[in-house]
């Protein structure tokens, strides 16, 4: 058992030589400090509240009165023309997406505002939306509505549902 020893030394030498050839490589990975793509901060499906939806709106920050705010509703109608009417009718007839008639009686105001401003996470987990998706097969696009526009659209939906 004397012979193998020099061979081991030899192999060690070889590998040392090899690494010195490759030369000066430090161990940290240059690709490590990359940023994460998914920054949406979605909630888990277990804590999802189907009454509220997901987004920045809730019973606390969406206040509506029994009476229609006509100014808001008129602004909402104009937003509807630019960003919604391509796919939604004001009747209960489905076009690309469902007709708007009665939507304010089926969902809470803040659910509606969450859905139209933050559709993707809700399409992924809201049971009512998923049922709609099976009918329409088109995911509702995010139309980049800001808070004011969303509130105006809600008021126009209320008007469409007969609020005076």
């Amino acid at each position: 058992m004397k012979k193998p020893f020099p061979i081991l030394v030899f192999i060690l030498m070889v590998s040392f030589y090899f690494s010195s050839c490759g030369g000066g490589t430090d161990s940290k990975s240059p690709a490590a400090d990359t940023s994460n793509v998914n920054k949406s901060g979605e909630t888990d499906a277990e804590v999802y509240d189907p009454k509220r939806g997901e987004g920045e709106f809730s019973a606390d920050n969406v206040k509506i009165s029994d009476q229609l705010d006509k100014t808001l509703a008129t602004a909402g109608e104009s937003n509807f023309g630019v960003k919604c009417s391509s796919c939604h009718k004001l009747t209960d007839e489905k076009l690309v997406g469902p007709g708007w008639k009665g939507v304010t009686t089926r969902h809470t105001p803040y659910w509606i505002m969450n859905f139209i401003t933050n559709p993707d996470p809700m399409i992924n987990k809201d049971p009512a939306v998923q049922a709609q998706l099976e009918l329409c097969l088109v995911r509702m696009p995010n139309q980049n509505l800001n808070t004011d526009e969303a509130r105006q659209l809600l008021e126009f939906m209320r008007k469409n549902d007969g609020v005076k």
């Binding site: 030899f10 070889v14 090899f18 690709a31 023309g81 980049n144």
Partner: protein, 659 residues
């Protein structure tokens, strides 16, 4: 005993191959085992750097992520691009206008990221058109070409676009000296010495808008300008240009422009040029050149022909220019991060001269000249020289820098990159490239603050690097890890066109400013359609304007009648989407004009001249939803003189005539 002997032999063999791998001769043994982990960017993760790479004779600019070398985008600049409708849509056609008319294809060589105090600021990237001399500015919020400026008095805009350290100016030096545009150009070619002049444009850049304007041109003796670099820090206010063909040959330059032992680096004191300009020493010249600007608000380009330029004659106006002798047809002319050292790279030389800014200033003060060249003082070589890198390799081309006082020079003839120390001029390391490297890129390697870490070699010859694709091959580039003492090749990747120069900088400089959609409310396009309710078809004589919208997944209108032979039809398609990455396409059968690709909130126009009577299908060319294949429509074309009225509809089989 026998086995032991065998083991011993194997080990010897391994040792022998390890020795060989120190100086790799073959194409496969230059990479060590951990290379893949260094370039691996996991799915869903981002690269650390953007790499803006010239597309060479494609005329476009490609964008890669580093270290993965994934191709992220090809930005159309100087050539039409059917993928993006660039040069095909009515909105973008004016961008390719020149004083010679519409030029659909050019040759893009060099890349310059905008800077503030010598550091990349992430706002714009400037690129040059070599053939029909132009500069372009690309807005890095949108990764789109925002402006193209033609350069008069130029031929072969090669020495361009290099910028000063606050992007006060982007320069453009002519490769070909030519008679001035306002002179009689009908002269014998062999009258080069009398009639041909060099011109260097100093193009100012507005700090806010980025808009470019030729502030002045320097008229120089007739030579070929090749590359350039601004001074930085202490040498801010100076610019350095390599020039060759100081022999002033007009034929067989390969031989006739390689006669002299030394050509020149031209040192330009541009602050002095500004003084002359302010003192009214410039001559106004009558010329013609195009200035094309893309208006973000109207989403439409305009092209204006400008008619004058101010020229300073540097043979007459003293103290602007000085020549520094530089061996053998210099290509690279690179200034280190401190601004003190200017590295000349003679294509035919076997050494690298390094000049000292301080010594140049001293030489000018003490008039250490070797006479003049057409009225411009020639500084004595030794009076400007800091030292020479001896025996670095063959055919140095271009040098970039790291933050630790090292320089990296490419060698075309000996196909290698050589790392050397700027202070002691000692060669530290060399690695092979595959094959015949041109320019190099180190992230920030031309700035006051190099990021180092990687080096990319852009090669001229590909040969056997990838699976063969017939006679024509992609271009090859190699990525090296330069974080250690020794350079290590970690990736080999194909590129488009023929990359000349490239620059790279940390991703966050650009990602923070990204535009994701165009807001429909801010769309000021004269033919915008803000909502389906506004969609319509308007006849104006023989011109028909279709105001069309697109949204997942239909056009409005999608049935159009009343188009007649002899009409010119303009489809103005507004994409009503307001979500990132939901473009729609538009195509109509027989359109001799490619297709449109319309970003969310944008309006694009396709001109269509029907060539026969019948029904013409149109559809969306960019997969947009599960019902993308349903996104289609029809246009009916009737004979000239037909009484079919203009009508249009969506969702009804028979169009309602317009009352």
């Amino acid at each position: 005993m026998k086995t032991t002997f065998l083991k011993l032999s194997l080990a010897s063999l391994a040792l022998a191959s390890a020795v060989i791998s120190c100086k790799p001769k073959s194409t496969s043994n230059a990479v060590s085992g951990d290379a893949a982990t260094k370039t691996y960017v996991a799915p869903g993760k981002y690269d650390e750097f953007y790499n803006f790479v010239s597309g060479g004779f494609s005329g476009q600019l490609s964008v890669y992520g580093l270290p993965s070398a994934r191709l992220l985008r090809v930005i159309p600049v100087f050539s039409v691009d059917p993928e993006k409708g660039w040069g095909y849509s009515e909105e973008t056609k004016p961008m390719l206008n020149t004083s010679h008319g519409f030029v659909p294809w050019d040759d893009l060589h060099h890349v310059e990221l905008s800077q503030t105090t010598g550091e990349v600021n992430g706002k714009w990237v400037f690129v040059n058109a070599n053939n029909t001399p132009r500069l372009a500015r690309i807005d890095l919020k949108t990764f789109r070409t925002a402006e193209i400026l033609e350069l008069p008095n130029s031929g072969g805009n090669h020495s361009s676009p290099f910028g000063t350290e606050n992007s006060e100016y982007i320069v453009a030096g002519t490769r070909f000296s030519v008679p001035s545009d306002n002179a009689n150009g009908d002269v014998p070619i062999n009258s080069y010495k009398q009639n041909f002049k060099g011109h260097i444009s100093f193009v100012s850049v507005d700090k806010e808008s980025g808009n470019m304007k030729i502030a002045f041109q320097l008229r120089t003796p007739g030579v070929n300008f090749d590359l350039a670099r601004c001074g930085k820090a202490k040498s801010h206010g100076w610019f350095f240009f390599s020039c060759y063909n100081t022999e002033q040959a007009s034929t067989l330059l390969e031989v006739n422009a390689s006669q002299k032992d030394k050509d020149f680096i031209l040192a330009v004191n541009w602050k002095k040029a500004e003084e002359y300009l302010r003192a009214g020493q410039g001559e106004k010249q009558s010329v013609r050149y195009a200035h094309n600007l893309f208006n973000e608000s109207t989403q439409t380009a305009t092209s204006d022909i400008l008619t004058d330029v101010t020229v300073l004659d540097v043979s007459k106006l003293k103290d602007i220019c000085y020549f520094i002798p530089c061996p053998k047809s210099p290509h690279g002319c690179d200034v280190d991060p401190t601004g003190e050292y200017i590295v000349g790279s003679g294509k035919l030389a076997a050494l690298i001269p390094v000049f000292s800014f301080d010594k140049i200033q001293q030489a000018i003060k003490s008039k250490a000249y070797d006479g003049e060249y057409e009225g411009i003082p020639v500084i004595k070589y030794d009076a400007a020289l800091y030292g020479e890198v001896k025996k670095p390799g063959l055919g140095p081309l271009h040098t970039e820098f790291d933050a630790n006082g090292n320089a990296y020079t490419s060698f075309f003839v000996s196909s290698e990159v050589v790392k050397w120390n700027i202070k002691d001029l000692k060669v530290l390391d060399r690695v092979p490239t595959y094959y015949s490297v041109g320019h190099l890129c180190v992230p920030g390697g031309n700035t006051r603050k190099p990021y180092g870490k990687y080096l990319i070699a852009y090669n001229k010859i590909t040969k056997d690097r990838y699976l063969p694709t017939g006679p024509e091959l992609a271009q090859s580039a190699q990525l090296y890890d330069i974080s250690g003492e020794k350079m290590q090749m970690i990736l080999d990747f194909p590129t488009i066109g023929e990359p000349h120069y490239a620059q790279a900088a940390p991703a966050e400089l650009f990602t923070k400013n990204q535009v994701k959609i165009f807001k429909i409310a801010e769309n000021k396009h004269p033919y915008v359609t803000k909502g389906e309710g506004e969609s319509k078809v308007i006849r104006d004589g023989k011109t028909v304007h279709v105001y069309m919208t697109s949204i997942r997944s239909h056009f409005a209108p999608d049935n159009i009648e009343g188009i007649k032979m002899g009409d010119e039809v303009y489809f103005h398609v507004t994409n009503l989407e307001q979500d990132w990455d939901v473009p729609h396409g538009f195509a109509i059968k027989g359109a001799a004009n490619a297709e449109l690709l319309i970003m969310p909130g944008e309006t694009c126009t396709l001109k269509w001249v029907p060539d026969k009577v019948g029904i013409f299908p149109m559809y969306c060319t960019d997969f947009c939803s599960a019902l993308h294949q349903e996104m289609q429509g029809y246009v009916r074309v009737s004979p000239a003189g037909s009484n079919v009225p203009i009508s249009f509809s969506l969702g009804k089989a028979i169009p309602d005539p317009v009352k």
